[in-house]
Symmetry: C2
Subunit: 438 residues, 2 copies
Amino acid sequence: MAWINKAENKHHVVIIGGGFGGLYAGKALRDKRVQVTIIDKRNFHLFQPLLYQVATGGLSPANIAAPLRGIFSRQLNTRVILDEATGFDPDSKRVFLKDEGIVNYDSLIIATGTTHSYFGHDEWEKHAPGLKTIEDATQMKNRIMLAFEQAEKEDDPEKIKELLTFVVIGAGPTGVELSGTLAEITRDTFRRDFRHIDTSESKIFLLEGLNRILPPMHEASSTSGKKLLEKLGVSVITNSMVTDIRKNLVTYRVDNREEKIKAGNILWAAGVIASPVGKMLHDVTGCELDKGGRVIVNPDLTVGKYRDIFVIGDLAHVKDEKGEMLPGVAQPAMQGGRYAAKAILAGLTGEKIPPFKYKDIGTMATIGRNAAVCEIGIFKLSGLIAWFMWLFVHLMYILGYGNKLIIFVQWAWNYFTWARQARLITNIRDNDVNEVES
Amino acid sequence: MAWINKAENKHHVVIIGGGFGGLYAGKALRDKRVQVTIIDKRNFHLFQPLLYQVATGGLSPANIAAPLRGIFSRQLNTRVILDEATGFDPDSKRVFLKDEGIVNYDSLIIATGTTHSYFGHDEWEKHAPGLKTIEDATQMKNRIMLAFEQAEKEDDPEKIKELLTFVVIGAGPTGVELSGTLAEITRDTFRRDFRHIDTSESKIFLLEGLNRILPPMHEASSTSGKKLLEKLGVSVITNSMVTDIRKNLVTYRVDNREEKIKAGNILWAAGVIASPVGKMLHDVTGCELDKGGRVIVNPDLTVGKYRDIFVIGDLAHVKDEKGEMLPGVAQPAMQGGRYAAKAILAGLTGEKIPPFKYKDIGTMATIGRNAAVCEIGIFKLSGLIAWFMWLFVHLMYILGYGNKLIIFVQWAWNYFTWARQARLITNIRDNDVNEVES
């Protein structure tokens, strides 16, 4: 049994999760009179907004990930531990770790995020993989690339058609970006690579349960986004509720009709559910959870009566001034992380700071080559200028100058040559092989 | 049952394997009056000489791989099939594929290479992973990175020492490059990243059965290579025959003594054995195999009485003028591939070409930062100039301008910042977790 204690007589801040929330909390504690321990089950911070580019072979996993140790290498008051929280004791201020360790904290920041959810239909997962981790992205890429490879060897035109049909479920930023990229690679990149099939005949469907795509954005952006997608050849079907997913078959309801699509590739970009750490916290603190398993926090992001436990990012249910829940994207997590760090530092000197207030600095989604939709303050943009802004903002926020440089070079290369170099089929797991029978 | 036939009435060359041999054969048939089908079980060509950099987190898999379809995209007489040969019928000129396909050929080039061999001790593999595929490299990287992570959480000094001990078995180019890189990352890159352990206290052993390292090179290079490695802190032990490998324990004989090293990381870079396709070919053609399972070919690289079947690259046993077998490296495979293509084209017009003659253009191995050993013709170099030559030659030979560009930028970045960005622990398989018990 290993005990991970503070080495010095300083206030010990323990951060669980190295996503946007945990990372920005940790960075805000640099050079402060506290000792910081960051615990994550992965050894890297993942820049999730670009995960769809890994899933479609445009970037390598390492391009969008930054080793946590590298990030905090020179932040000497901070230690990184590769482990997973399995429980808490909020009264004795301890976290229990999977690898048999125990950590004592003075303040605790929990930022373990969400995972994808199939709304109670876990049996859909094997037919419609989601996109939250590097492994998910590798698996999705394997399935997409293998579909083309199988089609190239297939004689039956019906099976070829099925293998070249893609259904993306959920038209949030990930679903929009995935379907736009699929349109781009089938129409352009892969077109010259096959001799038997014509990849530009691929069908791409984007299904959305609400009445417009990109629901976190304004209606004008949804409309221009839909137009841009349709121009690329994506069939956008809104108001469609998926009712069943089986091997190569999606069933959905639209306008009270039941429709079916036979598709060799079904990709899930619809729902998320809170990490199980929310439930653990509920069990020991009695804090309330919302329907998605998120922790309903106090206005200062603390939990119940515990002023030393903060929950931030996607795991927290935080309301804005209009009473709407903040979206599960990077900005609220980053701002929450910075706020929690500030609150802890203020607490050390007995100061009080005002409640957390989210500042919305904008939303954006890219739609294939040369096109994006952006909302920044009162400005709504779409098309080429929005696309350049999207590129700029993502390069700005991705961690590490090395990643910025490599991604910039890789993007420029991909742009001018239409290439996708990272389309290797590797680390195949059982579920990666496409399910069309021969 | 799918039949993969030639679409036009042209001589059909079928190439099995997209490594250096198959690739250069395929490229030499560009714009010629033949039809080419390349069959590989992977969808990419792998630049194996840089695989050790993936295993140590310096490069991403996609950096050293080129999608076969991309390579032959504009070579319109060439088709790529993702499949695996399971048998041959040399009399009816057919290849049988795993995915139930059959291919008719007029000429056949077999270039399926080798895999690592444990000299009859297959039980060693789980304790000492080898390095032949992208998956091997990912696994090796996971084990190396996890060893440091486990040590950081460990209290017992004996276990920390064991976790920070690396044994590399086999001092060919791969073993030398692996141990040199391990020295570099433990002494420099990782030094600031941990708070509890001092990675520079890591012990790195390089074991070699022969009396010198880099046996394919001249003795002067072996001597300077050994000096460079020792300067980096690697303990080089020649004349050492490994007799047993167990969980965290290597036993070897040196000078008639038996020695043991307790090590959390045992890496295999020792032996190779021919791909099973050699045995398949033996079964149907009666061709001779050598002890390593390689096909003993005719002077024109054909097999037995079959003038339409060529075996090239690592799978072929080819002797040079002194009667010594050509080494299993890229150059003989590339030259063999070009020769086979030339022989096939000559055969179409009834011409004869002289037997295959290997032209040795040099050997090189890098040894950590700023140091390498090179032999080019009568020149033998070591140190900084050799290192620059190594960089230049590898950039020159790696396929695709995109890869050249990205690797160049990544190398420059790694060099000046001492960073290793690609050290993510992903796609963990059961065997990846280090075996030290807590």
